[in-house]
C-alpha cells in the first residue's frame, strides 16, 4: 500500500524537527523554516501547535525532547520492491553506481510487466559503452559545474568542436532520448547526448559567453468539438503544457496552450492529429501553417 502515513510529509517534517532539537539550539523561526521546506502551505498551522501543545507527545514545552536519537526509519518492503524494479532497467547502467544488495526482494515490476507502446524506435543506445561514458562525463560536469568539450556533426554534415558548460539533462520519454542543456557556447544550447563524440571534462579557462537561452513562448488557441471523446483526448494529450480551457456551449470548448516556439512544427502535427475536432482559432500565423498543410494535401489527388 503506498498511501500510508509512513510516507507522510508530516512524519518527515517532525523527524527533521526532532533531529534539529537533538542537535541543539532550535528556535521558533527554525521550526517554521523546517515546516515550510518539507510540508505544505498550511502545515505550520497544525504541526507546530500539535508539538507545542503536547498533542503529539514528542517535544516538551521547553523545546526539549525525550527522544535521544536522530529519527530514522528503515525502507519499507514497497520501497525495496520499487528499487529492485528500477535496478532491472537498462538505463541503470548509465549511472555507474553500485546498487544496494536486494537479492531477497521481489521487484514490484519487471520490463515484462509494462510496455511504452508509442515510444519512437530510434531512442538512445543505453547499452553502448561510448554513450555510457559520455553520459557519466556530462553528469559529473553538471554536478561539479565544470565545462566539457566534444565533437558533433551539425545538420549540414560538418564536424563541430564544442566547448560549453552542461546545466542539466532533459529526458523525453516519447523520443527516449537525453538532451544536454548547456551554456557558454553561442552556437549550441541543446545537444542530443547521442550525437556527442569524444566528450571529456575540460578544465581549461571558463568561457564567459552568455547564460541559458530564454525560451520564447507562443500561444495557440484551439476550438474543440467534443465528439468521439475529443475533449478528453485533447486535454490529456496536451496536459503537460501550461493551458487554460473554457466551455463555450455543450459541444464546444476553447483551449489556449502555451508552447515553446522551437516546437511549433511538432505542435502543428499534434493538433492536426485531432482532425476536424480541433480547429485553430488563433494565432493567424499558426492557423496559416495548418491551412498550408491542408492546401498541399488537397493537391495530392487522394481519391
Amino acid at each position: 500500500m503506498i498511501f500510508s502515513e509512513l510516507y507522510c510529509a508530516y512524519y518527515n517534517t517532525v523527524a527533521a524537527i526532532i533531529s534539529r532539537i537533538i542537535k541543539g539550539g532550535c528556535s521558533e523561526k527554525d521550526l517554521q523554516q523546517i515546516v515550510r521546506g518539507r510540508a505544505f502551505g498550511e502545515s505550520a498551522l497544525t504541526i507546530i501547535p500539535s508539538l507545542k501543545n503536547e498533542k503529539w507527545q514528542l517535544i516538551h514545552d521547553d523545546m526539549t525532547t525525550p527522544l535521544t536519537h536522530q529519527p530514522t526509519m528503515p525502507l519499507t518492503v514497497m520501497q525495496k520492491r520499487w528499487l529492485k524494479a528500477i535496478s532491472l532497467d537498462p538505463r541503470m547502467k548509465l549511472f555507474g553506481v553500485k546498487f544496494p544488495d536486494l537479492d531477497d526482494i521481489e521487484p514490484l515490476f519487471t520490463p515484462e510487466d509494462y510496455c511504452i507502446y508509442d515510444q519512437y524506435s530510434d531512442g538512445d543506445p543505453y547499452e553502448d559503452e561510448g554513450y555510457i561514458r559520455q553520459f557519466r562525463v556530462v553528469l559529473q560536469a553538471i554536478r561539479e559545474k565544470s565545462q566539457i568539450k566534444f565533437e558533433m556533426t551539425n545538420r549540414r554534415g560538418n564536424t563541430m568542436f564544442v566547448r560549453c558548460r552542461p546545466l542539466r539533462l532533459e529526458y523525453s520519454e516519447k523520443d527516449d532520448k537525453f538532451r544536454v542543456i548547456t551554456v557558454g557556447n553561442r552556437f549550441v544550447s541543446t545537444v542530443n547526448l547521442a550525437r556527442m563524440r569524444s566528450c571529456v571534462l575540460d578544465h581549461g579557462k571558463q568561457q564567459l559567453y552568455g547564460g541559458e537561452s530564454e525560451i520564447k513562448y507562443e500561444t495557440v488557441t484551439v476550438r474543440i468539438l467534443d465528439e468521439r471523446n475529443a475533449l478528453e483526448r485533447f486535454m490529456l494529450h496536451f496536459a503537460h503544457f501550461e493551458k487554460q480551457a473554457e466551455k463555450l456551449d455543450e459541444k464546444h470548448y476553447l483551449v489556449k496552450i502555451r508552447y515553446d516556439r522551437r516546437d511549433e512544427s511538432e505542435m502543428v502535427i499534434r493538433i492536426l492529429s485531432f482532425g476536424p475536432m480541433a480547429e485553430v482559432i488563433d494565432s493567424d500565423a499558426f492557423r496559416n501553417l495548418i491551412m498550408e498543410k491542408l492546401k498541399k494535401q488537397k493537391s495530392c489527388g487522394l481519391k
Binding site: 498511501f3 528503515p74 544496494p100 520519454e173 542543456i181 471523446n229 502535427i269
Partner: protein, 419 residues
C-alpha cells in the same frame, strides 16, 4: 462537525478532483453538483495547499473556475506526488511511531511488547503533563502493521516474541538515480518517498513530453503490478466516464500499456467470464482486490506476446481466446527533395507496421491490426503528403476522407478556387 485538515484518509476522492482541476479546469464550483459545496471547498483548499502556485483561478460568467496549470518541462519533481504524502493519522499514531523507532534505533536492539510498554511510559511519556496511555493491544497492533510494511521484524525466542527494526539500506549514492527514475519509471512516487529521506538536493534532470497525471494512479498501478508478479486474478471497479457506470470486473491483469504521447495508461487483461482480452483505462479503475493465483497466467501472457504484433495502441477489439480478426491499413506518402526526415519519421514511428520505398519520392506504410481507428490520429500527422489509402475497413477510410473534407471546409480551403 469535523474541522478541516490538510491531510486525508481516502485517496479516491482527491484523485477525482485533481484530475478534474488538471485535465479540464473549466468547471466552476456549481458544476461539481455530485459533491457538496463544503466538500468542494475543502478539496480545493487542500490541493491549493499541496500545489501552491501551480493553482490558477479565472472568473467567468458561471463563476470562479479553479484549475491546475503546469508546464511539466519547467519542473524537476512531479508536484502531484504531494497528494500521496498527505495521509492522515492520529495523535497517538505519530507519537507511538517516533517513540518505537527511538527505542529500536539499531537493528541489534530487540524488545518484547512488555519491554516496549515500560520504556514508553517510564522514559518517554512520563515527562508530559497529561501523558498518553498505550495498552498492550495498541502497541501489538502497530508492530504488526510495521512488520507487514517490512520496517520491523518479529522474532520468536522460546516463548517470547522480540521486535527489532530491519537493516537500513544506504541510499547516499543514489540521489541522481532516484531523481531520474522517480519521474521516468512507473510508480515513481515511491522514488519520491525515497528522495524525502535524503537531505541531498537533486536537480540534474528535467523532462520533456512529461505526463505527470499518471502519478494519481500510482496506487492502482502498484496493486496491478503486485497481482501480475504473483500471477493472481483481481477484481476491479471500472468507472466508464462515457457511460457514467461503475462496474465490478474479475480479470487476469497481463500487462500495463503506457503511452508516451497521450498521457494515457491502460491495463490489458483477460476476462475469464467473457473468454476475451480487454483493455481498461488505468485512471478509470479503482478498488483493486487481489485474489487467488491463476494457473493460466503464463499461457495468457504468452498469448498477449503473440497478439502484440497486431496491437497498434491498446485495442484488442473483441478478440476471443485464439480467435482473432485483423484489419489491413495501408497509405502512401509522397515526399519532396530534402524531406528525408519524413522517411525517418515513418521508420521510427511505424511500430508494428512496415515501410516500403516505392521510388525515390514515394513510400508506403502498411500494417495488419486489430483496430484501424487507432491509427487515424497518427495518419493525420502526414496530412499534406498522403497520395493513396487502402483500408480493409472502408468505413474508416471513408471517415478519414470525410474528415479531410470537413477540415477543408473549416479552414476555407478550396473556396478560393470555387469562387
Amino acid at each position: 462537525m469535523s474541522s478541516y485538515s490538510e491531510l486525508i484518509k481516502n485517496f479516491e476522492k482527491i484523485r477525482a478532483y485533481m484530475r478534474e482541476f488538471y485535465i479540464y479546469g473549466f468547471k466552476s464550483r456549481e458544476d461539481y453538483q455530485t459533491k457538496s459545496a463544503r466538500s468542494y471547498d475543502d478539496e480545493r483548499r487542500r490541493i491549493e495547499s499541496w500545489l501552491g502556485n501551480h493553482m490558477s483561478f479565472v472568473r467567468t460568467a458561471e463563476g470562479k473556475n479553479v484549475f491546475i496549470s503546469i508546464d511539466s518541462r519547467t519542473i524537476r519533481h512531479n508536484p502531484f506526488y504531494h497528494a500521496w504524502k498527505a495521509k492522515s493519522f492520529t495523535d497517538r499514531d505519530i507519537t507511538l511511531h517516533f517513540i518505537l523507532f527511538d527505542i529500536l534505533h539499531e537493528p541489534t536492539i530487540k524488545r518484547t511488547v512488555s519491554g516496549l510498554l515500560s520504556e514508553i511510559d517510564g522514559k518517554y511519556l512520563c515527562g508530559f503533563e497529561n501523558p498518553m496511555v498505550f495498552d498492550e493491544s495498541t502497541v501489538r497492533k502497530k508492530l504488526k502493521e510495521y512488520c507487514e510494511s517490512g520496517i520491523i521484524i518479529a522474532e520468536k525466542e522460546g516463548r517470547k516474541v522480540y521486535y527489532h527494526r530491519t537493516e537500513d539500506v544506504d541510499l547516499s549514492a543514489l540521489s541522481d538515480i532516484l531523481h531520474y527514475f522517480s519521474e521516468a519509471a512507473p510508480c515513481g512516487v515511491i522514488g519520491s518517498f525515497l528522495l524525502d529521506k535524503s537531505e541531498a538536493k537533486t536537480e540534474v534532470f528535467t523532462f520533456k513530453h512529461h505526463y505527470i497525471t499518471g502519478a494519481m494512479d500510482s496506487g492502482v498501478l502498484a496493486a496491478l503490478f503486485t497481482a501480475m508478479r504473483e500471477k493472481r486474478t483481481v477484481t476491479v471497479t471500472n468507472c466508464s466516464q462515457q457511460k457514467n457506470l461503475r462496474i465490478q470486473i474479475r480479470l487476469v491483469p497481463l500487462r500495463i500499456f503506457i503511452s508516451a504521447q497521450s498521457g494515457r495508461q491502460h491495463l490489458i487483461s483477460y476476462v475469464p467470464s467473457k473468454n476475451r482480452f480487454s483493455s481498461y483505462r488505468i485512471d478509470y479503475l479503482s478498488d483493486i482486490k487481489i485474489e487467488e493465483p491463476t494457473p493460466r497466467f503464463d499461457e495468457l501472457r504468452a498469448e498477449l506476446d503473440r497478439m502484440q504484433n497486431k496491437i497498434w495502441g491498446v485495442s484488442v477489439k473483441k478478440n476471443k481466446w485464439k480467435i482473432q480478426n485483423t484489419e489491413h491499413v495501408e497509405f502512401t506518402v509522397r515526399i519532396e527533395e530534402g524531406e528525408d526526415y519524413i522517411v525517418r519519421r515513418l521508420e521510427r514511428e511505424k511500430r508494428i507496421g512496415k515501410v516500403e520505398r516505392l521510388d525515390a519520392y514515394t513510400y508506403r506504410f502498411s500494417a495488419d491490426v486489430y483496430d484501424t481507428s487507432e491509427l487515424m490520429p497518427w495518419i493525420r500527422t502526414f496530412i499534406c503528403r498522403i497520395v493513396q489509402m487502402n483500408f480493409s475497413e472502408k468505413a474508416h477510410e471513408n471517415r478519414f476522407k470525410e474528415d479531410l473534407k470537413e477540415m477543408y471546409r473549416m479552414y476555407g480551403i478550396g473556396e478560393e478556387e470555387d469562387e
